[in-house]
Subunit: 187 residues, 2 copies
C-alpha cells in the first residue's frame, strides 16, 4: 500500500532516541518506550548494524549506539538498510512482448532503457535525492525544538531507571518463568 512501511517508521523514531544517548539502548527499551512490538524491533535493528548505522554491543548492559554522528546518517541510508533498496517500479519489459514479433523482439525494440521505465527511474532518483538531504540530526533538531527540556530529561532518567530495574521484573523474565513451568509439566 505504501513503498515504505511500519518497519522504517519504527526504526527512524528509534534512531532519534539514540541521538542524545551515550549508553547503549536495548531493542526492548526502545520498543517499550514507544509502545512498539519488541520482538519485531529485535529483527529490525540488526539490519542497521550491518549497514554500519548502528553499533551493537552484546551481553548484559549491551544494546545499540549510533555508529556515526547523526549528521552523517541520512534518511535514505536508513530506508535502504531496512527496506533493501526498493525500487519505485519493476519493469517487466512489455515492449519486447509484441504479438507482431514472430521470432523474438528485434534489436531496435529492446535497445537501451524502456521509456516508461526511464521516466520511473527519474522519479525514483528525485525521491532518493530528497531523502538523502535529510539527516538524523535534522530530524532530531525538530524534536528538540518542540519538546520541553524537562521531558527530554525525564526520558533520559527513564532509560536510566530501566538499567537499574534490569534485575527486577522484565518481559523476558516472565517468559522464561512460563517456559520453565511448562518444562516441569511436560514429563
Amino acid at each position: 500500500m505504501a513503498l515504505y512501511g511500519a518497519s522504517t517508521e519504527y526504526v527512524l523514531h528509534s534512531l532519534l532516541w539514540l541521538v542524545d544517548t551515550k549508553e547503549p539502548l536495548s531493542s526492548l527499551d526502545l520498543a517499550d518506550l514507544q509502545e512498539i512490538p519488541s520482538a519485531f524491533m529485535a529483527k529490525l535493528l540488526p539490519k542497521l548494524e550491518k549497514a554500519g548505522i548502528l553499533h551493537a554491543s552484546e551481553g548484559m548492559k549491551g544494546g545499540y549506539v549510533l555508529a556515526k554522528p547523526a549528521w552523517e546518517i541520512s534518511v535514505l541510508s536508513v530506508v535502504d538498510a531496512i527496506e533493501g533498496r526498493k525500487s519505485l517500479f519493476n519493469c517487466q519489459e512489455i515492449r519486447g512482448r509484441c504479438a507482431l514479433y514472430s521470432e523474438g523482439p528485434p534489436r531496435w525494440a529492446t535497445q537501451g532503457v524502456c521509456g516508461i521505465h526511464a521516466a520511473m527511474l527519474r522519479a525514483e532518483q528525485a525521491m532518493r535525492e530528497e531523502l538523502a538531504k535529510t539527516t538524523l540530526a535534522d530530524l532530531s533538531d525538530i524534536v528538540r525544538k518542540k519538546a520541553p527540556s524537562q521531558f527530554l530529561d525525564e526520558a533520559q532518567s527513564w532509560f536510566g531507571n530501566r538499567v537499574k530495574t534490569r534485575r527486577e521484573g522484565s518481559v523476558r523474565k516472565n517468559k522464561i518463568l512460563k517456559k520453565s513451568v511448562n518444562n516441569k509439566e511436560l514429563p
Copy 2:
C-alpha cells in the same frame, strides 16, 4: 515490492498504442497485441475512463480512444488513476505513542506534521513532480524514433485486420462455445 505494479505498466504501454490510432481499440485487442492477460486489462481501462484519460464507446465496434491530446496526459495522472493516489509512506503517528505520556500525548508532541513524515512527503512530492513532467507524447516520441515506420504500419494493419476478423475466430467466441457445451452436458 514496488510502489507501482504491473497494472500501471500494462496501462502505460497500452496508452502508447492509442496515441496514433483514430479508431477505438478494444481492451482485447490491446491485450492480445502485447500478450497481456485480457481479462485483467478489461478491469484496468475503466479506471482511466473515470479519470477522464480515455473515452469509451460501447457496443460492437466500440473500444477506447484518448480523451485528451497525448501531450496533456502525464504519467502521473495515469499512475494516480490506476493505483489510486498511493503515498510513499503512511505515518502512524508514533510520536504520540510514548510510554511517558501518562494521559495521552501533550499538544507540543502532536503539533504540526511529524518531522519524519514531512521528510517523506518532500520526497513524495519530488517524485510526483518528476512524473508530472513526462507526458504520453514524450513517451510516444521515444517509441517512434526507435521503431522503423514499416513496423508502425504493420501494427496499424494488424488492428485493421482485427476489425475485419471480428466475425471469425475470436477469444470470446471460443469461450461462449465452451460454455454452451458445458450447459448441454449439465442436465
